[in-house]
């Protein structure tokens, strides 16, 4: 075992003008016995041999410090910059008193290099070193993070960029890596325990009598309010862990600490935005500056100009912006609008744009409850794809189940939701235990929706239907079969599962034949947005763009909706498949995917 030296943090890719000299401003952290203060922002590591050192440290956020886990001494960890076609050896030394691991999120690697303890390898024991070694067969914006315990919550994540072998189809003059995350001074186990004790513990924006009687416009109809209360569902339960526990960070900096990235006016600036948060979906925007999305999850898409997009945990989006001579605020607003991360893009250091105020907390509606599009609380009229859904009769839409024996009940008129069975066991082929509080009676394709709370924000918001791959797809086969996977849970007990089973119950894995073309239909039977991630593969997101449907490693499945994902199971081995909300995964929302035969075995 060899101790790795902390790597040089010169040549900061993340700019970080604001943070230099911070350590000097708070000398208390230099006290003896301190675990050392984590640097903020990412240093750069590159080349065929990379050393990474995982260690405990203190992270200072808003003049307070808390326990953290760092990679090479910083949060986020160093920017790993690789080149398509190269081989890389990554030596990871564990200086913690517990096991650790690194998963290379979105990278196509042999299964034994994927970094999930208990699935792809045994994990990295305390005070030992593990060497990852694999060829780089792709390019784009990715990231890496721990898959052990709840380490991801305390800082164990970092960006990973791969430059393409040939010319980059995206032209830019300058780039910034923007790592979004959520930080808490609470121990992650405390956060989890609180959620088990009281599902809505961190929600400080619940419905109140005062709001209802006050001059705020009531977002709910009496029928909706009645329905939610009868179902014991909280229409304000948008995010499990909120600003009550979190400070939202951009490149390790709070809004007050204001990370600043510089540019020269007129430049095309590429922002590589990574959501490395443990439990927060963000709405990302730069007020006053349109963004052109050019890539997602490392894959190029046809440029599409928008003003805002929702980014689920582990998703990445590359956007091009052309700021003028003014500073701009990068705003990562938590999906429940309890707080936001703010950073600055400025032509000169020291400049700062005013951050917008938090917008009104969204309220869930009937569609989020899986009751189709027929709700009085209809968001569809403001959809960005130009179809007047509101004018169409969506109540006639059949549910996505194609098994004749699971025929849907006759459709109810919109005002008669009350008689709909919200937990109809005949719709699924698994038993409904205590961990399943709802089966969406009428889930719909929501890939054309911008995400919870973004239906009527008055500007262009990206939807999954706007994503068109730049490259035509390589596997032109149609899926030979489909598997339906229900995303299930119990909000009150904070239980989360797939097809009603938690991973702790050791459920049957999802099994694919090698190179099999399969459609995975993810049906969200809960009222939360789940960013679902499959290791080792890319899904083709079925969004109606023929052979140019986008490739994604992580897909947000909106509440009460479903997503079709076509998969070529070309990576033999065992792979993790899970919700990327850390506490949902910890609560059981994970499954193993097995692709056989393995390398070297007869087919």
């Amino acid at each position: 075992m060899r101790d790795t030296m902390p790597l040089s943090r010169r040549g900061f890719v993340t700019g970080g003008a604001a943070i230099l000299g911070l350590a000097g401003a708070f000398p208390a952290w230099a006290r003896t016995g301190s675990q050392g203060l984590a640097a903020k922002g990412s240093g750069l590591v590159t080349g065929p041999n990379i050393d990474l050192s995982i260690a405990a440290a203190e992270l200072a956020v808003n003049r307070r410090s808390g326990h953290a886990v760092t990679i090479n001494g910083s949060i986020p960890g160093p920017l790993i910059r690789l080149k398509e076609g190269q081989e890389v050896r990554l030596r990871v030394s564990n200086h913690l008193h517990e096991d650790t691991s690194i998963h290379w999120h979105g990278l196509i690697v042999p299964f034994e290099m994927d970094g999930v303890p208990g699935v792809s390898f045994p994990g990295i024991k305390p005070h030992s070193t593990f060497e990852y070694r694999f060829p780089i067969r792709q390019s784009g914006t990715y990231w890496y993070h721990s898959h052990s315990g709840l380490q991801e919550q305390v800082g164990h994540y970092g960006p990973l960029i791969i430059d393409p072998e040939g010319a980059d189809p995206v032209a830019y003059d300058r780039e910034h890596v923007i790592v979004l995350s959520d930080w808490s001074f609470l121990h992650p186990h405390t956060i989890f325990t609180r959620l088990k004790q009281e599902g809505g513990f961190f929600n400080r924006q619940k419905l109140t009598l005062a709001d209802r009687l006050g001059d705020k416009t009531d977002p709910m109809t009496p029928a909706e309010r009645d329905m939610f209360a009868r179902m014991r569902m909280d229409p304000t339960d948008i995010s499990d862990v909120t600003e009550a526990a979190y400070t939202f960070l951009i490149n390790g900096h709070s809004a007050d600490e204001n990370w600043t990235g510089l540019f020269t006016p007129g430049e095309r600036v590429r922002l590589r935005i990574i959501n490395a948060a443990a439990q927060t979906t963000f709405n990302f925007r730069i007020p006053g500056l349109p963004m052109t999305v050019v890539a997602t999850d490392g894959n190029n898409v046809r440029p599409v100009e928008i003003d805002e997009f929702q980014i689920g945990n582990a998703e990445t989006y590359d956007v091009i912006v052309r700021p003028g001579d003014q500073p701009c605020a990068l705003v990562a607003e938590a999906i429940d609008r309890s707080g936001m991360g703010v950073a600055t893009l400025a032509p000169r250091a020291g400049m700062r744009a005013a951050a917008p105020r938090l917008r009104e907390r969204p309220t869930l509606g009937m569609k989020d409850m899986g009751m189709g599009n027929s709700s009085a609380h209809d968001h569809m009229a403001t959809k960005t794809d130009g179809i007047d859904h509101a004018a169409m009769d969506h109540t006639a839409a059949p549910p996505p189940s194609h098994q004749p024996m699971r025929a849907p009940p006759p459709m109810q008129p919109a005002e008669d939701h009350g008689s709909m069975n919200m937990r109809d066991a005949s719709r699924v082929d698994f038993p409904l235990g205590a961990g399943v509080d709802m089966i969406a009676p009428m889930p719909v394709d929501r890939t054309g929706d911008p995400g919870v709370g973004l239906e009527d924000v008055g500007h262009r918001v990206l939807t999954y239907k706007d994503l068109v791959s730049l490259e035509p797809r390589s596997d032109t086969r149609l899926p030979g079969r489909m598997i339906e996977i229900h995303l299930t849970g119990n909000m009150e007990r904070f239980m989360w599962s797939l097809d009603g089973e938690q991973l702790s119950e050791n459920p049957e894995p999802y099994r694919f034949a090698r190179n099999e073309r399969v459609r995975m239909r993810l049906i969200n039977d809960t009222m939360m947005t789940h960013p679902m991630h499959l290791h080792g593969h890319f899904w083709e997101l079925v969004n109606g763009h023929g052979d140019r449907q986008p490739l994604k490693h992580t897909v947000r499945v909106l509440p009460g909706g479903y997503v079709d994902l076509d998969l070529t199971a070309d990576a033999p081995g065992d792979w993790a498949f899970h919700c990327h909300l850390l506490y949902h995964m910890h609560a059981g929302m994970m499954r193993i995917v097995k692709v056989r035969p393995l390398e070297g075995e007869p087919a």
């Binding site: 003008a17 830019y172 004790q197 400080r204 599409v304 969506h394 730049l470 034949a513």
Partner: protein, 331 residues
């Protein structure tokens, strides 16, 4: 700071365009290397017409992706029937069950797998709730009540403890009970609870078997219904319900009702057959912290039928108002 990016900046100048120009071999490639964005900037010339303006129009072209919803609206035509759900082909079940065993050894992987399963679901948790710790004032006479619940366990099975202690400040303990229950989730919102209850207090020493259902009823009512059979053969039951009405994020009005039943006359306990007593109250609490809420409240309590008669014989009133000052807290 400007030079920070010098190594990484890709200038979209003429060398890039020249590179792109050498790529005109297939339409796909041309499209890939000359996106409309570049073309618009004059970096290169696309061989194909520009794709439709963004945001992208929804699919109207025939495609294998034509969800039923869209087909019904005529947005698209399902070209192929959608794949049907089926079991995986036999080959998917071939080979070793655990792929990493051959690489890292079956022993190392087995213990890692065990830890991995343990960490993803059914993680044990705990709670200690002092639901009501209050001073009850009735016509100048003060008494106290402490109502506590605690649990430890996984998602389905828990050890659940409940206790309720009542007494006067000069007269000592009136009654005390402790329940130790095994709690088993029987649905999304309800637990079946079974175990023992031990009572203490003047003339009240008893051990009961307890069987109940506790959980969250529609419209957010916390309910607890339990049946008790004492070792002396007495059968009693109790029903409790409470609800949090949120006035503001921190000010909460909690109505609470409790009804007791006895299936027989028990003079020793001053309980007549039928409904013995009931209370209806409201507590207004303020969350100083999310786990710490002092409250003020009122409660009307009265005994019925035989129980009321026993009380009158003792010179007590059958019912009356209590004014409450208390604290709700949990850990």
């Amino acid at each position: 700071m400007k030079i920070l990016f010098s190594l990484l900046v890709l200038l979209a100048g003429s060398p890039a365009a020249a590179q792109h120009a050498g790529h005109q071999s297939s339409p796909e490639e041309t499209m890939a290397s000359c996106p409309p964005e570049h073309a618009a900037m004059g970096h290169c010339t696309p061989a194909l017409p520009e794709p439709p303006p963004q945001p992208a129009a929804p699919a109207r072209q025939p495609t294998e992706s034509c969800p039923p919803e869209h087909a019904a609206m005529g947005h698209c035509t399902p070209k192929e029937t959608e794949p049907s759900t089926a079991s995986p082909p036999a080959v998917a079940l071939s080979g070793p069950e655990n792929a990493a065993d051959a690489v890292y050894g079956a022993g190392a992987m087995a213990s890692a797998r065990k830890a991995m399963l343990r960490e993803h679901g059914d993680v044990p948790a705990h709670k200690l709730l002092i639901d009501r710790a209050e001073i009850r004032s009735r016509q100048g006479e003060d008494s106290y009540l402490v109502d506590t619940q605690a649990w430890y366990g996984g998602d389905i099975d828990k050890l659940w403890l409940k206790s309720e202690i009542e007494g006067g400040f000069n007269g000592g303990l009136d009654s005390a009970e402790v329940q130790a229950l095994w709690s088993h989730a029987i649905g999304p919102w309800f637990d079946l609870q079974a175990g023992v209850r031990q009572d203490a207090g003047p003339g009240r020493d008893r051990t009961h078997f307890a069987l109940g259902v506790q959980g969250l009823a529609p419209y957010w009512w916390e309910t607890d219904a339990a049946l008790f059979v004492s070792t002396k053969g007495e059968v009693t039951a109790r029903l409790e319900a409470e609800h949090d009405a949120r006035i503001t994020q921190k000010l909460i009005l909690q109505p609470r009702a409790e009804v007791g039943f006895s299936f027989q006359d028990t003079p020793e306990l001053m309980a007549g057959a039928g409904i013995t007593d009931a209370s209806l109250g409201a507590r207004l609490r303020y969350q100083i912290a999310s786990t710490f809420s002092p409250y003020l409240g009122v409660e009307y309590e009265r005994a019925f039928a035989g129980t009321a008669r026993y009380r009158r014989l003792e010179g007590e009133r059958a019912g009356g108002w209590n004014f409450l000052v208390g604290l709700r807290t949990w850990f």
